[in-house]
C-alpha cells in the first residue's frame, strides 16, 4: 500500500510540474497582455515600456519561467511556495485563492451532500424494484435534470423564488449586504459563523446557499442516481448476494454488504465530478455572485492576469489529483484487487 501511494505521489509531482510549465507557455502565447489595462489612460510608449519591464514581460520566456519558479532577489519563487502577486489587484495570489476556494468548497460539498441524500436512497430503491412507477419517474428525472445547463436552472430558480415570489434572498453573494461577516477563520461562512457563535450569520449564510445548492444538487443527482442504480443492480444479481439471501441472512445485513460492494463506482463518479466542479461550478457561482474559485479563474483569464491564471490552475489541478489519489486509496481499501491494476 505504501509503495502504491508513493508511486502515485511521484507521478503526481511530475504531472504538476508538467502542467505548470505547459500553462506558463500557453499563457504567453495568448494574444494580449495586461499592460494596457494597468497604464490606463496614459499609454505613452515610455510608460508602456516601463510597465512592461516591471512585470518582467520584456525578458525571454525562459528567463521569466526561471523567475517564476526560483524567484529573484528577495522575492521567493514557486518552488519556495510563493504563487506570486496578482497583476490586476497587487494582492498575493495565495490570499485571493484563499478567499475564493472555501466558498467553492462550501458550495459544492453541500451540493454533493444534498445530491447524495436524494440519489442514494432513490437509486437503491429503484434498483430493488426495477420497472415500477418510481423507477420510471426517477429515470425520467435523471434524463431531465441533466438536460438543461445548470446556469439556466439557476436563472429560472432566481426568477421564480426571488423575483416572482420573493422567498429567496437576492442572488448577491454569500451574506446580506448589511450583515457583518463573521471573523474569518476557515473562509467558509457557515463554519466561521458557528465558530464565532454568530447564529444570525449562520442562518443568513444558509439562506443564501439554498438556491445555488439546490441548482447544483439537481444537476448532480441525476448521474449519481443512475450510477447507484446500475451498480446496485449488478451487485444484487451477483453470486454473493444470491448466496447470502439463500442462506437466510437478515435483509438489513444483506443491504449493508451490497451497499459496500456497490460503493466503488459511485465513489469514483462522485470524486471525478467533485474534481470537475472545483472549476466547473463557475456558472452557478456567477448566477448567484458567490465569488468562488471558478469565478476567480474566469476573471483571471479575462484579465490576462498571468500569475492568477497560473495559481488557480495549479491549485485546482493539485486538488483534483489529490482527490483522485485518495479515491484510488479508498478503492484499494474497498477492493484489494484494484491495488494491482
Amino acid at each position: 500500500m505504501t509503495r502504491f501511494v508513493a508511486r502515485r505521489l511521484v507521478i503526481a509531482v511530475v504531472q504538476v510540474a508538467a502542467i505548470t510549465i505547459a500553462v506558463f507557455l500557453l499563457i504567453r502565447a495568448l494574444p494580449a497582455d495586461p499592460v494596457a489595462t494597468r497604464v490606463g489612460f496614459n499609454a505613452s510608449p515610455d510608460v508602456y515600456r516601463k510597465a512592461k519591464a516591471d512585470l518582467g514581460l520584456d525578458r525571454s520566456t525562459l528567463s521569466q519561467l526561471g523567475t517564476y519558479l526560483g524567484g529573484s532577489g528577495t522575492e521567493r519563487g514557486l518552488l519556495a511556495g510563493n504563487l506570486g502577486t496578482s497583476w490586476a489587484s497587487g494582492s498575493t495570489v495565495a490570499s485571493e485563492i484563499g478567499d475564493a476556494l472555501p466558498i467553492t468548497l462550501e458550495l459544492i460539498s453541500l451540493s454533493f451532500l444534498l445530491a447524495g441524500a436524494i440519489a442514494i436512497p432513490l437509486g437503491m430503491r429503484t434498483a430493488r424494484r426495477p420497472g415500477k412507477a418510481l423507477d420510471k419517474a426517477v429515470f425520467g428525472y435523471g434524463l431531465f435534470a441533466g438536460a438543461a445547463p445548470e446556469f439556466w436552472w439557476g436563472l429560472m430558480l432566481v426568477f421564480v423564488f426571488y423575483f416572482k415570489l420573493g422567498w429567496a434572498p437576492a442572488p448577491l453573494g454569500r451574506l446580506s449586504p448589511q450583515l457583518q461577516a463573521p471573523t474569518q477563520r476557515t473562509g467558509a461562512i457557515l463554519i466561521d459563523s458557528l465558530l464565532a457563535g454568530r447564529l444570525d450569520a449562520f442562518w443568513d449564510g444558509l439562506r443564501h446557499l439554498i438556491l445555488p445548492v439546490v441548482t447544483l444538487a439537481f444537476v448532480l443527482s441525476g448521474p449519481i442516481m443512475k450510477m447507484v442504480r446500475q451498480s446496485m443492480t449488478r451487485v444484487l444479481g451477483s453470486d454473493f448476494v444470491l448466496y447470502a439471501q439463500a442462506a437466510g441472512l437478515p435483509p438489513r445485513q444483506v443491504s449493508r454488504s451490497t451497499l459496500r460492494a456497490a460503493f466503488g463506482p459511485v465513489l469514483t463518479l462522485t470524486s471525478i465530478l467533485y474534481g470537475f466542479m472545483l472549476g466547473g461550478a463557475v456558472l452557478v457561482e456567477s448566477v448567484f455572485s458567490l465569488g468562488g474559485l471558478g469565478q476567480y479563474s474566469v476573471k483571471s483569464v479575462l484579465e490576462f492576469n498571468y500569475p492568477s491564471i497560473q495559481g488557480v490552475v495549479l491549485v485546482i489541478t493539485v486538488l483534483s489529483l489529490v482527490i483522485y489519489l485518495v479515491l484510488d486509496v479508498l478503492l484499494a481499501l474497498l477492493d484489494p484487487r484494484a491495488r494491482h491494476r
Partner: protein, 565 residues
C-alpha cells in the same frame, strides 16, 4: 433505510421553507447606506495597477483629499449637483489649500495650507505631506505613474519624460524632486511650472494627485518599497479625506466610516458599505427591494424600468460620456475619409437613442464632451442620410469584402450588443457587411492602446478626466509623434498638431477657445472619431437619499449625500 430517508427529506423541506420564509432583515440604521457596483476597489494606490478601474477610483476619492476642487453649481433639473468647470480662480475652492496666489513671471503657485486638519489615524496635515505626494509621484515607482503624468500634463517644472528614460542612472536623477515643489514653511508650499498652462488647477482636482498622509505612509514602507505602494494598494491609503477605511474584503466588500475629525465637518452618511454585485440586474433588484440605497452602472433599459418605481429615484446628467465609433486610419477601407463619412451618414441615430438608450441620450455634436470648457459645435455635422452614404461609398470605390469586424468590450454587452446589432443592420442597408466581435476588456484595451489595430470599434468608455477640450485633444487626437497619448485610431493631422502646440501654453482664454474650435472643426471634417450620442450618467437610489452630485470621474462622493432612512 427508507424510513430514514423520508424523515431526512421531510426535515430538509421544513428547514428549507423556514429559512426561505424568514423575514428579510430590517433596513440599515439611519446614516448608513449600502452602495452596489459591478466591482469594489481592487487597489487604492493611484500609481498602482488598478487605478484605471472606475470602482477603484471611487475608493480613492472618498478616502483622499485634494489641494483644491471645483466649486459646486446649482443642481440640474433631475436634482444632480454640478460643478463649475473652468480655469479661473473663481471656479475653484480651497480644500487642503486654504488660498493660493500665482506669479505670472515665474509661473509659480504659492499655496497657503489649512491648519488643524486631521487624518484617520490622527495624523495632522502640513506642507511635508504635499511635498511627499509630489516626490512620490515623480519617483514613478508604481505600476502606472499617474501622479507624474498629471503633473507633466500641467507643465509642472521638471516633471518630464526623462524620469522614464532608458538610461537608468539619468532616469534616477530625474526622478528626484527638486525645488519645483518647495516647502516654504509648515503651512506654505510653492509649485513652479515650466510654462503657463491652464491645466494646473484642474489636474489638482483629479484623484491622481490626492494628498497622502506622509507620516502613516512612511511607517509602512519597506526596504524594497520605499514609497509604500504595497501598503497603499492593498491595506489602506492614509490621507485626510471624509471617510476612513473600516473593512476591505477584496472582491467582495469595502466598508468605510465617516472621519469624525474631517475638517469640513463629519459626513452625514456615517457608514457606507460598498459591495460588489457583478450583474446589473441583481443590483437593480436590490435597490427595488430596499436592500441597497444607491446602485451604479445599470443598463439604460434597467434605469428606464425603475424610473417610475415606488421608493426608487432615477436621476442623471449628460456629463462627459459619449458613444463613439472608432475607424482605424491605417486599415482599409477606413483610411478613406469618404468611407468614414458614409458610415456617419448611414447610422440611424434616432433608433440608437430610442432603442439603445431609452431616450436618455442626445446626438453628439463633436468628439469633446459638451459640458467641457473649450467645447464648440463643429460646422461639420452628419445626420442620417442613406442616399448620401451610398453616393459617398460609390465615389470611394468601395467594394464589400464582408470581412469588417466591429469590436466592442464584451463585459458591456448588455448595453452595446443591441446598439452593435442596430449598426450592423444600418450598414448592411448601404452595402457594408460587418461581423460583431466582442472582446474581453483586457484584450480590447491591449489592442486599442498598445497594438492600435482595432479596425472598427464601438466604445462608450472614453472620457477625458481632465475637464478641458485641450486635454481631450492631447489625449486622443494629437498624433503619436507629437506626443499624443491615446491616439487609438492612428489619426494624424498636421493642422491639429500645430493648433494644439499653440493651445498648450496659450495664456489668453479667448484665443485658446478659437484655436480649440478650429481643432474641433477639423476633427469632425476628418471624422477622427465618429461621435454617435452623448449619454446620461445615471444612478438609481432610494428616494430618501439626497445630495447626489456628478464629478468628472463619475464616482459619487459619499460625503455629498444625506440619507433620511
Amino acid at each position: 433505510m427508507r424510513r430514514l430517508s423520508i424523515l431526512a427529506g421531510a426535515t430538509a423541506v421544513l428547514a428549507a421553507s423556514a429559512v426561505l420564509t424568514a423575514p428579510t432583515r430590517a433596513a440599515a440604521a439611519a446614516g448608513e447606506i449600502t452602495v452596489l457596483a459591478e466591482d469594489i476597489p481592487a487597489g487604492l494606490d493611484y500609481d498602482g495597477p488598478s487605478a484605471a478601474i472606475p470602482t477603484s477610483q471611487t475608493g480613492m476619492v472618498n478616502l483622499m483629499e485634494p489641494l483644491v476642487y471645483y466649486k459646486t453649481k446649482p443642481a440640474n433639473s433631475e436634482g444632480i449637483g454640478l460643478l463649475s468647470f473652468g480655469f479661473a480662480d473663481a471656479n475653484f475652492e480651497g480644500r487642503l489649500a486654504e488660498s493660493w496666489t500665482y506669479d505670472p513671471k515665474t509661473f509659480t503657485w504659492t499655496f497657503k495650507l489649512r491648519k488643524g486638519v486631521k487624518g484617520c489615524g490622527g495624523a495632522t496635515f502640513n506642507a511635508d505631506d504635499v511635498v511627499y505626494t509630489f516626490a512620490r509621484a515623480k519617483s514613478v515607482s508604481g505600476a502606472a505613474p499617474i501622479g507624474w503624468f498629471l503633473s507633466n500634463v500641467a507643465s509642472i517644472a521638471n516633471f518630464t519624460p526623462d524620469v522614464l528614460g532608458a538610461d537608468k542612472a539619468k532616469a534616477a536623477e530625474a526622478q528626484k524632486l527638486g525645488d519645483e515643489v518647495k516647502k516654504i514653511d509648515d503651512f506654505t508650499v510653492a509649485i513652479k511650472q515650466s510654462a503657463p498652462n491652464k491645466l494646473f488647477l484642474p489636474v489638482l482636482t483629479i484623484f491622481g494627485l490626492g494628498i497622502f498622509d506622509k507620516e502613516t505612509m512612511e511607517k509602512n514602507k519597506t526596504a524594497t518599497d520605499p514609497w509604500s505602494h504595497e501598503f497603499a494598494n492593498n491595506t489602506n491609503v492614509p490621507s485626510f479625506g471624509p471617510y476612513c477605511l473600516d473593512k476591505w474584503t477584496k472582491n467582495s466588500e469595502f466598508v468605510v466610516k465617516g472621519n469624525t475629525d474631517y475638517y469640513r465637518g463629519a459626513p452625514k452618511v456615517t457608514r457606507v458599505v460598498y459591495r460588489k454585485v457583478p450583474q446589473s440586474s441583481n443590483r437593480l433588484a436590490a435597490v427595488q427591494r430596499g436592500e441597497a440605497q444607491l446602485v451604479e452602472r445599470l443598463t439604460p433599459k434597467e434605469f428606464d424600468s425603475v424610473r417610475k418605481a415606488k421608493g426608487v429615484k432615477v436621476a442623471g446628467v449628460i456629463g462627459n460620456e459619449n458613444l463613439f465609433v472608432h475607424m482605424n486610419f491605417k486599415t482599409p477601407p477606413f483610411d478613406n475619409v469618404k468611407v468614414r463619412q458614409a458610415v456617419a451618414y448611414a447610422l440611424d441615430y434616432k433608433k440608437i437613442i430610442a432603442n439603445g438608450y431609452f431616450g436618455q441620450a442626445t446626438k453628439s455634436k463633436g468628439p469633446i464632451p459638451s459640458s467641457y470648457p473649450g467645447f464648440s459645435v463643429s460646422k461639420n455635422q452628419y445626420d442620417t442620410n442613406i442616399e448620401k452614404a451610398k453616393t459617398l461609398l460609390k465615389e470611394a470605390g468601395y467594394k464589400d469584402k464582408g470581412d469588417i469586424l466591429l469590436s466592442y468590450v464584451s463585459e458591456k454587452q448588455s448595453i452595446l450588443l443591441p446598439i452593435a446589432t442596430q449598426i450592423k443592420a444600418d450598414l448592411a442597408k448601404v452595402g457594408i457587411k460587418v461581423k460583431l466581435d466582442p472582446l474581453p476588456q483586457t484584450q480590447y484595451g491591449d489592442r486599442q492602446l498598445v497594438k492600435k489595430d482595432l479596425q472598427f470599434a464601438l466604445n462608450d468608455q472614453e472620457k477625458p478626466i481632465g475637464v478641458d477640450a485641450g486635454y481631450a485633444t492631447l489625449l486622443f487626437f494629437v498624433s503619436s509623434e507629437k506626443g499624443g497619448l491615446n491616439n487609438m485610431v492612428n489619426y494624424s493631422s498636421p493642422k491639429v498638431d500645430d493648433l494644439f502646440a499653440k493651445v498648450k501654453n496659450e495664456a489668453d482664454d479667448k484665443t485658446r477657445n478659437t484655436e480649440l474650435a478650429e481643432i474641433q472643426d477639423q476633427l469632425m471634417a476628418d471624422l477622427a472619431w465618429l461621435p454617435v450620442v452623448e449619454l446620461k450618467t445615471q444612478w438609481a437610489f432610494s428616494d430618501k437619499l439626497t445630495g447626489l452630485a456628478w464629478h468628472p470621474d463619475s464616482s459619487i462622493r459619499w460625503n455629498d449625500l444625506k440619507y433620511a432612512g
